[in-house]
């Protein structure tokens, strides 16, 4: 496994090369949080609890959601599709490593860069600037694990979108569509509780909610009963495993395009 650790380390260092860009991401995020703060303050003007969430819970959810979004945003769908289109993928294919694991761990390296350079500073600002109270409970302990699962699931969507480059030369539209679907359906933008009930039911059986809704609810509502917490985690793990396997099968199919028609 040493080889995959080397890949994480390499990607982390590459990510750090671009650290200047982080400042802008942090500033942009601050502006977004400011806007969200006033928006949600006005939503909560006449009531203390909405759809079972207090203002503090709702805002914590939104703010943390944006932090997780930035954490998971590694553009791996973009660089995977680019290396497929320009043919540089053959450089990876001459190495004695599994392509899926290689891209997964490269992505993990980028996530770690994001964590240190963006997510942690944002989280600190959240506490200092917006003065939110952070609840504690069993869910808080499960949150890091849930975040790792969310990372795996998010990676699978990126990987799948990237691999589509074997079939089409413009993955730009596909990437944008994927981002939008995830943003809305995962509860990253607005907590799922605020969706119409019928839609909530549908969204809960789709994988998207496990990327944001699950870890965010563990964090904002850490004092739920054990069965509820465990149930959410189990569903999340199930999706992570399932998607890893599905994308693995998809890779075996997609790589044939290269093997046979030379990409």
């Amino acid at each position: 496994m040493k080889k995959y650790f080397a890949i994480i380390r390499g990607a982390f260092m590459v990510g750090m090369v671009y650290r200047l860009g982080f400042i802008f991401t942090i500033l942009g995020n601050l502006v977004y949080l400011g806007v969200a703060y006033y928006l949600w303050t006005s939503i909560y003007e006449t009531t203390n609890v909405m759809r079972g969430l207090t203002f503090n819970e709702a805002f914590l959810y939104i703010a943390l959601g944006s932090a997780v979004f930035i954490l998971l945003k590694t553009y791996s769908d973009w660089w995977i599709s680019r290396e497929i289109i320009d043919g540089n993928i053959i450089i990876d294919l001459i190495k004695p490593i599994d392509y899926q694991l290689m891209t997964l761990f490269t992505n993990l390296g980028f996530v770690l860069t994001n964590l240190i350079a963006i997510t942690i500073p944002t989280a600190l600002m959240l506490v200092l600037v917006f003065n939110v109270t952070i609840p504690y409970g069993a869910g808080t302990l499960l949150f890091p694990f849930s975040l790792i699962m969310a990372f795996v699931i998010s990676y699978c969507f990126d990987y799948f979108t990237g691999l589509l480059a074997f079939y089409t030369e413009s993955t730009w539209g596909l990437s944008i569509t994927k981002d939008t679907i995830i943003l809305v359906f995962s509860g990253a933008l607005v907590p799922l509780q605020f969706f119409p009930e019928g839609m909530q039911k549908v969204l809960m059986v789709l994988p998207f909610q496990t990327m944001y809704h699950t870890p965010l609810m563990l964090f904002t509502r850490p004092d739920q009963p054990w069965e509820a917490l465990a149930g959410m985690l189990l569903v999340q793990c199930g999706w992570a495993l399932g998607l890893i396997l599905l994308t693995r099968l998809f890779y075996l199919q997609a790589i044939k395009v290269l093997r046979i028609s030379g990409g």
């Binding site: 040493k2 080889k3 650790f5 080397a6 890949i7 380390r9 390499g10 260092m13 590459v14 090369v17 671009y18 043919g87 540089n88 053959i90 450089i91 294919l93 001459i94 190495k95 004695p96 490593i97 599994d98 290269l258 093997r259 046979i260 028609s261 030379g262």
Partner: protein
């Protein structure tokens, strides 16, 4: 058993005939109008462990395609290929451990990182132990002074420096066979010389099998005993490089630029040459680009200096260059039966 065995190897690509313009692009979506490109067309050869082969041919001959099949990236359309006893595409990861590859136009180094970091990552990927790693880096430092590049970001390296690093990387895990696809393209003479020293050294001390693709005959002359010439996917010649050298070493191309050049000048030139040097003079003339005329000369029959002075005195020559015979010329001569 030979290290590499290739028998009746074929790789055919289906290429869509694209139409022009926007409407054409739309029609292409539904098009079934395919052309078959026979990139590799019935190639057979065996390569023994420790050999250094020059695999040469003009652009589009099928060299890279053959290498991509030997490295397991592409699957053959038909035919058999065994490297170390196994078909390369069947177990890519195991096979990758015994191969090193350099694709001249691409780098396998981490573009954004200092050179040494790429080597460290590759060390772990190929599970190279520390001692082997240190010895290897020491050797390359001795041969080409690699150490001074360690701290430099790969993106800032010159083409020659980058290529030396890529070659270092391809030999790092002591592979049984190394494929070098156009490693000298675009390099100046001094870097080429360094490169040749390194390749030769590694072939001799480690008995690494090396397959070198190039369209510079000088590389092959300096390094290889055996040469395989390929064109349009077919092997034209497979044998001792001396045989080819004896033939083409004698050829030089004289490029002349003539003032006020037109069709009649070319005709006059050809006519006067025959008058002056006889019919069996070993000279052939062609206009390659505007104002430039190529005169290919077999020095065994007519000395270059004679042709040069003749042209200089009889025509208003503006500029002159002398070049070694080009790959395209070699291939043409092989077709014409020069080696049979």
């Amino acid at each position: 058993m030979s290290l590499i065995q290739i028998k009746d190897l074929n790789k055919h690509f289906n290429v869509l005939n694209r139409r022009e313009g926007l409407g054409g692009a739309f029609l292409d979506l539904f098009s079934g109008d395919y052309n078959i490109v026979r990139a590799v067309d019935g190639v057979s050869f065996d390569i023994e462990a420790g050999e250094m082969i020059g695999y040469i041919g003009p652009n589009g001959a099928g060299k890279s395609t053959t290498i991509k099949m030997m490295t397991g990236i592409l699957k053959p359309s038909s035919g058999a290929i065994l490297v170390n006893g196994f078909p390369p595409h069947a177990n890519r990861i195991r096979q990758a451990q015994i191969m090193g590859v350099v694709f001249g136009q691409r780098t396998q180094l981490w573009w954004d990182l200092p050179v040494i970091e790429s080597f460290k990552i590759l060390k772990d990927i190929y599970r190279v132990d520390q001692k082997t790693f240190d010895d290897h880096m020491g050797l390359f430092n001795e041969l080409v002074g690699l150490k001074q590049l360690y701290k430099q970001q790969v993106r800032t390296l010159s083409l020659g420096q980058r290529m030396l690093c890529d070659i270092t990387a391809s030999f790092l895990h002591n592979p049984q066979v190394v494929f070098l696809d156009e490693p000298t393209i675009g390099l100046d003479i001094s870097v080429k010389a360094k490169m040749r020293t390194v390749i030769k050294e590694l072939n001799q001390t480690r008995n690494t099998t090396i397959i070198l693709t190039t369209h510079d005959l000088g590389d092959v002359e300096a390094l290889c005993r055996r040469i395989i010439i390929i064109d349009k996917g077919k092997v034209l010649f497979d044998g001792d490089v001396k045989k080819v050298n004896a033939l083409f070493g004698a050829y030089r191309t004289l490029k002349v630029q003539v003032n006020d050049f037109d069709e009649s000048t070319l005709k006059a030139l050809a006519g006067q040459m025959i008058q002056h040097f006889g019919t069996n003079n070993g000279i052939s003339i062609s206009e390659v680009e505007k104002h430039w005329t190529d005169i290919t000369i077999d020095q065994a029959r007519t000395p270059l200096a004679d042709v040069l002075s003749f042209v200089m005195t009889n025509f208003p020559v503006h500029d002159v260059r002398i070049v070694e015979i080009s790959m395209e010329n070699v291939v043409q001569k092989v077709y014409d039966g020069a080696l049979s």
